[in-house]
Symmetry: C2
Subunit: 336 residues, 2 copies
């Protein structure tokens, strides 16, 4: 019997289709192939083909925009928004529009073209998180920016146009609808319960233990109760904090461990599937101090989003999150 | 310079990336191939392999579940929801869930395995619309049903698991979030302007003429101002009505013409791309009589929805709708 489940924050219903439940190997054909493109702007020696670097982690005796770096942050060469656009809204007939102001950066995660977060050293993943945090804090200083999204597309089917491991950071002058919904939902829960809904989720999941993938000192990884997608995985900090940039040095180390492990589990269980990774964080106004709780959402792209999802906002998930959590827990970390 | 544009109803912002503007042939690699699977449950002679038909348009001297039909409506063999499930909501710890009650039907649009709406006779398309309307009215009678979605996935990349032309109808006991948002947005506009926002859009587009693809007596097809996707196309009835099932006999004929023409234009301009087609209609309560206006949304699946879209609810559209409308208008209908 299928089951409707409701996300406690967004109030999005999903259908868990237990009768058509799938196992990890049912999805194996989506594998991300390690293809070597002819030319890669993110390889050593090609630094001049990207816009000049914003910063990089590199030995003190190397010049900017030369090899030697281990993480490199550059403006996107084909940005969706433009830092030189004026901040201006205007009407067009009955419609509303605005100039496309914003920042769109790329974090090149490693010089190694064929590596990726799931198989990197913990230390390298930690450095990537530091790059996120530093760039986030720089962008926060621009008062025109309302929201900063850090995200990653792994594999062509997840929307990546280059295979060299990289993440993206987009800073926007308009509050995204999706984020506002999450803030509003959290606030409504907080007003009713006087508790942060994400802290409640962590407590509930620790009691039930059915959907936990892994936990360490500072973070917990779990399959959400109303997962939209097979193997959708969230990583939440145990300490209540609304904005990603508030993460402490200890927490960065702990996050690197759980993030790499979770991505490795997904990589091993599902044979390197394409995935999207998103950091959900508070707006730059730091709204939601009491009720919002930053976290990471990862979803392997194993199924197609089709007419039903577009038309309703419901999702049909063919892997119950309890099963997905078990499959991911069973992955051995010995080779990590 | 990219431009932010806001959907006047949903208030969803999109980024029209004019500098990366693409032309139809840039998308040609997404073509839906006409593959002949070994066995097709929707072909003549295989009627016994689907659940027994709900109804079919067939000669009076043929038996149900035998060949001879031209449109056939059957329950989905692998339904996402189950008409035999009890209508029951319950708590699971802090979470909310419900039994998966609902209807999930398939409309087999033609016995011709390799045909599809874009290349069918107008008469056949008209019959498909009649099947939608009849089944819609049947399902409305079940008082447990709050919303009925009619949709179509064309091609594997749009989520179709069978290539034989078919649509789906899902009837749900829970009001979908996506639909509620559209109703709420329309209502808010109506309260402010005292006019239906969709009627306003039709007026505005007829004045500007930049985004119209085609119009006839009863319908208008256009690219919306804040199109999320390249070549996203809406078809709206000119007469204000909130629910699809209120369509008159004349309007069915007029809709068949514009729907087939629009799908043919997309087929010809983009070389048979995968697409999703959705009928946006009022809930079965018929809420929104004054402010809601049913319509069809079609989006070719030419680009991947990636981290940015998932994280923000913003979309990046690389084809300005004005360009898309022009490309679609330029398609000759001589061979139709």
């Amino acid at each position: 019997m299928p089951e409707f489940r409701k996300d406690p924050i967004i109030k999005r219903w999903v259908i868990i289709a237990t009768e058509r439940a799938k196992r990890p190997h049912d999805f194996a054909r989506t594998k991300v192939e390690e293809v070597r493109e002819g030319f890669c702007p993110f390889d050593y020696g090609n630094e001049h083909t990207t816009p000049p670097e914003i910063f990089a982690f590199r030995p003190a005796d190397t010049e900017p925009n030369t090899p030697g770096w281990w993480v490199r942050v550059v403006p996107n060469k084909f940005p969706a928004v433009d830092p030189n656009a004026p901040l201006r809204k205007y009407g067009r007939g009955m419609y509303d529009a605005a100039m496309g102001f914003g920042y769109h950066d790329v974090v090149v995660e490693t010089p190694d073209h064929n590596s990726h977060l799931a198989v990197m050293d913990y230390k390298n993943v930690e450095e990537v998180i530091w790059a996120y945090k530093i760039r986030y804090e720089q962008l926060m200083k621009d008062e025109r920016i309302k929201y900063i999204l850090i995200f990653k597309n792994h594999g062509r089917d997840a929307g990546a146009s280059l295979s060299h491991p990289h993440s993206q950071i987009i800073a926007l002058p308009i509050m995204p609808k999706r984020v506002q919904e999450e803030l509003d939902g959290s606030k409504e829960y907080y007003e009713y319960k006087e508790r942060c809904p994400f802290c409640d989720i962590i407590d509930e999941e620790k009691r039930e233990r059915e959907r936990i993938v892994e936990e360490n000192d500072h973070f917990i990884a779990l399959e959400p109760f109303a997962a939209r997608f097979p193997f959708e995985t969230w990583i939440l900090p145990k300490r209540h904090m609304n904005s990603f940039h508030l993460i402490s040095e200890d927490e960065v180390g702990s996050l690197a461990k759980i993030l790499k492990n979770v991505l490795y589990r997904i990589y091993a269980a599902l044979d390197n599937p394409p995935y999207n990774l998103l950091i959900h964080t508070a707006p730059t106004s730091l709204e939601g101090k009491d009720y919002y709780h930053w976290h990471i959402e990862i979803f392997p792209r194993l199924t197609k989003v089709a007419g039903f999802e577009w038309g309703t906002g419901f999702y049909i998930n063919t892997v119950p999150p309890e099963d997905a959590a078990r499959y991911l827990r069973e992955v051995s970390l010995e080779q990590v």
